[in-house]
Symmetry: C2
Subunit: 341 residues, 2 copies
């Protein structure tokens, strides 16, 4: 039986952090054995709001690839490829753009939120939705092209990305209604386990742009500095004070990464009762993260020594991705009657 196809990936705008690890990387490592997995390094999408920083995007294509290999995404079974090298995605985007109205895109909650988070420098500061680059508004359409180019059955994303997948479904259904049944309707696959890690500053989400992230590539020294400086319960002033473990990122991290969750429950009770100091808990977390990140760091260093090999992996993955997407585009062109020769 044909293996189901998964599409997943990242925008190369920075190295990957622990939030990515629990949010998606871990799932990819597990899924790659069971599914035909394509991982897109979405440089074209990174450029939609980094048009003036091509160096940043270029640099992070390499960083993200290193992160993938370091955590154990296996290029022999997972296809890692670069989006901008797949012209079929650009072509599909052009055709899908005719199937979605401008107002529909503006109503997309994810687009709305992302527009708020960004600060587009533009002449129209008074009308944020119109001040965005057209490419950014077209982002969900481009994502539909990514997913359908590989006729993905499953798209593993967090709950917050559901509107993006709904947009893809709308496009797929409209395309199939007009031109005939060509595109596969993808199914969203929300991961079972915790998907959102707070930042080290205690804000709800670890994020590169908020500067509150622990990167997979952080050195032991940097890691130590970040963990020991983490936000905890601000009311837990003395060791003997009762502490809060719920809104406490140190414990959130432990719930995400401590392999001994039973012992962790014990520790949480001690902290809540009073008598367990933050430094002790942080040292425990630091130990666990060092244990976890050390082999990743080692593999990263190993791969980083041979940039040529990395490029070879990307080239091979991209060639395979083109083969698959070319087949899809060919079917699409035939259905749209633009298969001339």
């Amino acid at each position: 039986m044909k293996k189901k196809i998964i599409l997943t990936g990242d925008r190369p705008t920075g190295p990957l952090h622990l939030g990515h690890y629990v949010g998606s990387l871990e799932a990819r490592i597990a899924l790659q054995n069971e599914y035909n997995q394509f991982v897109i390094i979405a440089d074209t999408q990174a450029l939609t709001d980094n048009a003036e920083n091509p160096e940043k995007v270029r640099k992070n294509v390499m960083e993200v690839t290193l992160d993938y290999l370091a955590v154990g995404i296996d290029p022999n079974i997972t296809t890692i490829f670069i989006q901008s090298l797949i012209p079929e995605i650009a072509e599909l985007t052009m055709y899908y753009m005719n199937l979605v109205s401008v107002s529909r895109l503006k109503r997309n909650p994810t687009v709305k939120q992302e527009i708020k988070q960004r600060n587009f420098s533009n002449e129209d500061k008074d009308n944020s939705e119109d001040s965005i680059p057209l490419g950014f508004l077209a982002y969900p359409v481009n994502q539909a092209a990514d997913i359908t180019a590989f006729q993905a059955d499953l798209v593993p994303v967090g709950e917050d990305q559901r509107p993006m997948i709904e947009q893809t479904l709308e496009i797929v259904r409209k395309f199939n209604r007009i031109y005939g049944n060509v595109l596969v309707e993808p199914v969203i696959k929300v991961p079972d386990r915790i998907t959102r890690l707070p930042g080290i500053d205690g804000t709800a989400k670890m994020s590169k742009s908020l500067g509150n992230a622990i990167y997979l590539s952080d050195s032991p020294d940097v890691l130590k500095k970040k963990v020991m400086g983490m936000f905890t319960d601000p009311n837990h002033l003395n060791v003997s004070d009762p502490g809060n473990v719920e809104e406490n990122p140190v414990f959130s991290f432990l719930r995400a990464f401590d392999p001994d969750q039973e012992a962790l429950l014990q520790m949480e009770q001690n902290y809540q009762r009073g008598g367990l100091g933050d430094v002790k808990v942080k040292q425990h977390l630091l130990y666990i993260l060092q244990q976890m990140l050390e082999p990743i760091r080692k593999r990263r260093e190993y791969f980083a020594q041979d940039k040529g090999e990395i490029m070879h992996i990307l080239e091979k993955g991209t060639a395979k991705a083109r083969e698959v997407s070319a087949k899809t585009l060919s079917d699409v062109r035939k259905a749209m009657l633009i298969n001339y020769f």
Copy 2:
């Protein structure tokens, strides 16, 4: 010395008419000897507002090509190609879309006007600018990609298309500022002579959508019916009445097509003085148009007999167009630092 490059073309949404002839075809026939001319059959752009009518677009790719060959555009010196077969144009469009804001596109007068002329069926009838398909809003960006893919020096368009070229210039300048000098700034080339022909119903512009056009492919019978039924001066009731030649499409046509403009002046004076009947003037126009269209019709029939040869011409032109645009895209990718391998 390198020949200057011209880009021009049409959206294949219908066969070409006399308005196209005086507006652009005539210029192309003249320019092809002096310039390196690329003629784009913009099927991708035709689909932006014909997404649900792919048959119409497909059919008219052939019709428009036949019209080109029939009027004397010579495929041995002019490169005729199909837009959707040039993936480089889609790719450039994606990158340029990051350089233009949504509001800038909405302010484009040509986009505004075209939105008004069309009647997009959509849920948002109350907000016409937002109810358009994204692809239609992106139309000027796609046109910038067309022009720059061939590094065109000159774009021969009417005055009404100037805002589209201004948009291209803005994109070119922004691209060159961010990524370095790669793209050529095109110059608009407004034709010297009359560019706008009225419709046979007397409205200001001959247009397929207004149903007031004389097509290059009209049979002698259809031509006769259209010319003899043309709108004239509504106050010229009796032959002896003085007539108006200015707002009279029959005379506008004669001013555009009568090879003997001196005799025409005489005829205009007779008409203005009174004593010259509409039927006589129309018969004269019919004779001139038959003279002009007969060889075009003959060549059209000749070419139409061998669809395989037409496809061969398009295939050859498209291959040449790809070669040129691939070179541009390669320079663009290098400048944008997305030339990985």
